[in-house]
């Protein structure tokens, strides 16, 4: 079995209009910039995108939104230093937003990946983000029922990958990437280096290959924060 693909273009070519796509990263760390830019080139439209944020500057997720390819964003924090692209579009009514508390967002994905259709969390109880959600009391405390979150595709960024799809990450660039890998029907990982099976210590595998469908090597990947400090623009 060899899950490696030869290019990011080949990897995203299978994403159709209207797909739900999880995109890894927290701010600029762990954002699969090359896969996102390939998705911009590919041109799929009317996407529902799941990410913690709404992108920064004019690269990566912000650029995807700027190209008008995103119909709906599910995220926890669409504000940032330079969120102009999303903000303008949102205030103009050009993009739908589902706001989810960050821990609930992560747990909904984890539930999606783990076959747990619903769970209870104290998070958001009594707030407007829990409006219309079922609640229940356990041991005298109130909780909100949340549903799993799944996607058609996950675009994630990892450090090492092998042909079986086993992955490691780089420092805090791990963030949502391993969770999203479990929750999508098709997970596509860009990795800084593809190594032979067995080169990743089985003890140190963070994402076992069972969660990964395709691996594509992007040596020396761009870092969103660095790109934005250079005021880069895509395309």
């Amino acid at each position: 079995m060899d899950k490696t693909l030869s290019s990011v273009a080949e990897a995203v070519a299978m994403i159709p209009d209207g797909a739900t796509v999880m995109i890894g990263g927290f701010g600029g760390s762990g954002a699969p910039i090359e896969l996102i830019h390939a998705l911009i080139d590919h041109g799929a439209k009317n996407l529902t995108v799941i990410n913690n944020n709404a992108g920064n500057g004019h690269v990566g997720l912000a650029a995807l939104i700027e190209q008008g390819q995103v119909a709906k964003l599910i995220c926890s924090f669409p504000r940032s230093v330079d969120p102009k692209v999303f903000t303008d579009l949102y205030l103009a009514g050009g993009i739908e937003l589902e706001l989810v508390p960050q821990g609930t967002l992560a747990e909904r994905m984890r539930a999606g990946g783990a076959g747990i259709p619903a769970f209870y969390t104290p998070t958001s109880y009594g707030t407007e983000l829990a409006k219309d959600k079922p609640t229940a009391e356990f041991d005298g405390k109130m909780y909100v029922q949340e549903r799993w979150l799944k996607a058609d595709f996950a675009l994630i960024k990892a450090e090492l990958g092998d042909p079986l799809g086993n992955l490691t990450y780089r420092m805090a660039a791990r963030n949502f990437n391993p969770v999203m890998a479990t929750a999508a029907a098709v997970t596509i990982a860009q990795v800084s280096r593809i190594v032979a099976p067995g080169e990743i210590d089985p003890e140190s595998v963070v994402t076992p290959g069972i969660f990964v469908k395709h691996v594509v090597e992007v040596a020396n990947p761009a870092q969103e924060e660095a790109l934005n400090r250079q005021e880069a623009v895509y395309p």
């Binding site: 079995m1 783990a114 076959g115 079986l164 099976p197 990743i200 076992p208 290959g209 069972i210």
Partner: protein, 227 residues
């Protein structure tokens, strides 16, 4: 003609089940008899085996004396690793199971109902009850198959209209490989796909506890001598 004279051995049932496993498939084999399926992967195909206790991509048993008892499968038997293996904890392991990430789970059975219900964890006869991962494994795998003798040791049907023993899961089995036939479960019915050539449909029906639906094509169940 006695069924015992023509029926497939356990190894042969396992061989037949192994032919339906694709290259690269993620597979969990139940403890005991189902473990035998791993031996019969067709040439050129390599499945990736999952064990509930937290290993992906394990290989054959080590030679006697070479065991490391920290490296075992769910049946507590010593295993080895293939290149590209991974370790993970129990919650992650069952997330793989329950989350639908396995392509195939192959399990044993006391009884399988035409509805896909499975009974394979309790004979209902008292003693110490033990369920292990059976109730989890029947959920989530894209395909849940059963391998079993077609009848019990006393000759009673194991393919039935409704299970009489405590259930492991409801409506979960989609294919049954028996010592006499290969039967799919579709729309709450047993559909006969393959049977031993030496056996008539009538004889097979006679040892089956629910009606067999007969499609236009019923293939011969042909299995080489294996052990």
């Amino acid at each position: 003609m006695s069924l015992d004279d023509i029926k497939l051995s356990n190894a042969q049932i396992a061989w037949r089940a192994a032919q339906d496993i694709d290259d690269g498939a993620y597979v969990n084999l139940g403890i005991g008899f189902p473990e035998m399926v791993a031996k019969f992967q067709p040439k050129g195909r390599e499945a990736i085996f999952h064990t509930e206790n937290g290993v992906l991509n394990f290989g054959r048993a080590p030679a006697a004396g070479e065991e490391d008892w920290d490296l075992i499968n769910a049946g507590k038997k010593a295993i080895t690793l293939k290149p590209g293996a991974a370790f993970f904890h129990h919650a992650d392991s069952f997330a793989m199971v329950r989350g639908g990430h396995l392509d195939v789970a192959i399990l044993g059975a006391y009884e399988v109902a035409q509805t896909g219900d499975l009974a394979n964890w309790s004979t209902g006869r008292g003693g110490v009850p033990a369920v292990g991962g059976a109730m989890d494994l029947v959920h989530g795998a894209k395909r849940v198959a059963v391998i079993t003798d077609h009848v019990t040791k006393k000759g009673a049907p194991k393919l039935v209209e409704a299970c009489s023993l405590p259930l492991t899961g409801v409506g979960c089995v989609t294919r049954v490989y028996t010592s006499l036939a290969v039967v799919d479960i579709e729309g709450g019915r047993f559909v006969l796909r393959e049977k031993l050539a030496a056996l008539s449909v009538e004889d097979l029906q006679a040892v089956t506890g629910a009606e067999l639906v007969l499609p236009d094509t019923i293939n011969d169940l042909t299995v080489p001598e294996v052990d």
